[in-house]
């Protein structure tokens, strides 16, 4: 039924464009991408008034599941599709097609009064990893203001199936490693930053776009020898920031009609300007 409706909608868009009602495109998934996806959808209404884009969040997994179930045309994802999900999609006769629509520097956040100046990937793994031994700020050579209770590192993480959680695990903890249990698991990117802002001893990871004046961004170094790099859009594009990840949109098969036009527009300079304004890195340097 749903599939039929989509086919009909596409046919309308391709065939005449002006004939029927507005074409509806569902764009669902990643919470990291939801703000920029919303901005794209709103701006696209002026580009092509005959196409309405409905955006919803829920997480990368939700979007990809929706793509497989046929309940969404575009799955927004902050992680690469898993081989298991590709298999599931093929079972439904869908061949997922991948588009990189931008980059996100995964920033390491601490409280604004935390004097830390840099952190290495190995130190992050020592804090978050299941075999990590770093539990105090003093182990990193950081003297926290405000007494001994602030020396304890309060690990803030994400719920275990968010795209951000998965990417941080792969990029920082390394293949085959798990998180240490006992972290405070928040259900959204913004919640992580909010909690870090309220908690003196906290450390958390979240998209760069969620930075506020209430928190401090820590420059990250690949290892002790490498220079620490501040997460910015430029360092995310040129690849010098070690934990920047591509952001994806997936379609069911080669996109057609309205969906194709929408994705082409997203990858055009006009679309990429919007992702830049929302605090993410575009796929290429814009003038």
């Amino acid at each position: 039924m749903k599939r039929l409706a989509i086919v009909l909608a596409l046919a309308t868009a391709v065939g005449c464009g002006g004939g029927g009602g507005r074409t509806l495109i569902q764009s669902k998934g990643s919470d990291t991408l939801v703000n920029v996806a919303q901005a794209w959808a709103e701006a696209y209404a002026t580009v092509d008034p005959n196409v309405a884009v409905a955006v919803s969040g829920g997480g990368s997994g939700v979007g990809l599941t929706g793509l497989i179930d046929g309940t969404t045309e575009i799955a927004n994802s902050s992680r690469k599709i898993k081989s298991k999900e590709i298999e599931a999609a093929r079972k439904h006769g869908i061949e997922p097609k991948e588009f990189v629509v931008g980059y996100d520097a995964l920033a390491v956040y601490v409280h604004k009064d935390n004097p830390i100046e840099k952190i290495t990937i190995a130190q992050l793994a020592g804090i978050y990893g299941d075999d990590g031994t770093i539990t105090k700020w003093s182990q990193l050579g950081v003297t926290m203001p405000g007494g001994a209770q602030n020396d304890t590192i309060v690990r803030v993480s994400r719920q275990n199936n968010s795209g951000t959680y998965v990417y941080f695990k792969e990029a920082v903890l390394g293949e085959g490693h798990d998180y240490k249990l006992g972290s405070i698991d928040q259900s959204g990117s913004k919640d992580v930053v909010d909690l870090v802002a309220r908690t003196m001893g906290a450390i958390g990871y979240s998209g760069l776009a969620y930075a506020t004046p209430e928190v401090k961004l820590v420059p990250v170094a690949q290892d002790d020898a490498a220079p620490p790099v501040m997460p910015t859009m430029d360092t995310a594009i040129d690849g010098s920031y070690p934990i920047a990840r591509p952001l994806f949109m997936y379609t069911a098969g080669e996109p057609q009609g309205a969906v194709k036009a929408y994705l082409d527009w997203i990858l055009s300079d006009a679309g990429q300007k919007i992702i830049h304004d929302k605090g993410y890195a575009p796929v290429r340097k814009l003038d």
């Binding site: 997994g61 275990n160 405070i184 259900s187 003196m200």
Partner: protein, 320 residues
């Protein structure tokens, strides 16, 4: 009612009608009676149908997992809840059980004295307008949505606990326990008050006739007589705490951890389902493991309610 009402004309008033004939008559009243009977019956069993339906639905998703994938020793004995691990997914709920138990336990410590105290005051001491105002206010307390309670825990109790106790983070068992205690208090107060009201006045009058003070009447006569009902009130409060989700998710810190002090973070069974079900792959192991948690929650709350019910029944038997 006119005589022409209904399919069969009634005989004029006063004419004697043989009883069996009247009873067999299928007039409008007879049909109305049947329809209402069916409606009331449907309403009456709808609760049962819903409970059975929910149990069947939750079981269908969860029991396959219990039978095939689940290692019961790991399930109840391990704290490692790692359903999305690439290395090896583990489903240990010990920490989640401990989280739910500690938060609910602390909530009861907070709310039982307050609720029973409030119930005693309302039932035995308060008079007139004070009494009515208190009852309305307590019912109002029950109407506050749980997400608002969670918000209070997050934005008011969290900094307060950090300041007062000098701990690194204020989202902890204490925070969630206090919030949950306040949430459970209204239902406990209302039921406890009913239990106290159900103690026959003759008991009080007899005690007063013997020269007992009001407090002696309450402590020695009314409370022992209402014991069963008060137990039921406490148990229903426990059930409320056990099943509460949103406020606990927001206030407890939501960390997989065996709490050893009130300032440790904890994670509840309900909050785990709420946080993870949305993104779990439908039909996958993680999804079904979450439904297994659902079965567990359902069974425990069912057992608690059943126990509370037997207490209430016991009270009725003694009281009647």
């Amino acid at each position: 009612m006119s005589a022409n009402d209904g399919p069969v004309p009634h005989p004029p008033r006063g004419t004697p009608v043989p009883f069996p004939a009247r009873a067999d008559e299928r007039d409008r009243a007879w049909f109305v009676d049947k329809v209402v009977q069916v409606l009331v019956f449907a309403g009456g069993i709808s609760g049962i149908v819903c409970v059975v339906g929910i149990f069947v639905f939750v079981s269908r998703e969860g029991f396959g997992f219990i039978a095939h994938t689940l290692d019961l020793r790991e399930f109840f004995g391990s704290i490692a809840w790692r359903p999305t691990s690439d290395k090896r997914a583990t489903y240990g709920i010990l920490a989640l059980l401990a989280g739910t138990a500690s938060v609910t336990g602390l909530a009861m410590l907070v709310s039982v004295p307050f609720s029973i105290g409030a119930a005693i005051y309302i039932a035995e001491f308060a008079r007139g307008k004070t009494r009515e105002a208190l009852k309305v206010l307590i019912e109002l307390l029950a109407a506050i949505p749980s997400v608002v309670w969670g918000f209070i825990g997050l934005t008011m109790l969290n900094p307060l606990i950090i300041d007062v106790f000098n701990v690194p983070v204020g989202l902890c068992v204490l925070n969630a326990g206090v919030i949950l205690g306040l949430m459970a208090a209204p239902i406990m107060t209302t039921i406890a008050e009913d239990a106290l009201k159900a103690v026959p006045d003759g008991f009080r009058e007899a005690a007063e006739a013997m020269g007992a003070t009001r407090w002696q009447v309450v402590w020695r006569v009314v409370l022992p007589a209402a014991k069963q009902g008060l137990m039921a009130a406490v148990l229903l409060g426990v059930g409320r705490g056990f099943g509460e989700t949103m406020a606990v998710l927001m206030a407890s810190g939501h960390a997989i951890n065996l709490p050893t002090s009130p300032f440790d973070q904890a994670r509840a069974l309900t909050a785990t389902i709420a946080a993870e079900l949305g993104e779990a792959e439908k039909g996958g192991d993680h999804y079904r493991a979450l439904f297994t948690l659902g079965i567990l929650l359902f069974s425990v709350t069912f057992a608690i309610n059943l126990l509370a019910d037997t207490f209430v029944r016991g009270r009725r038997k003694r009281g009647g």
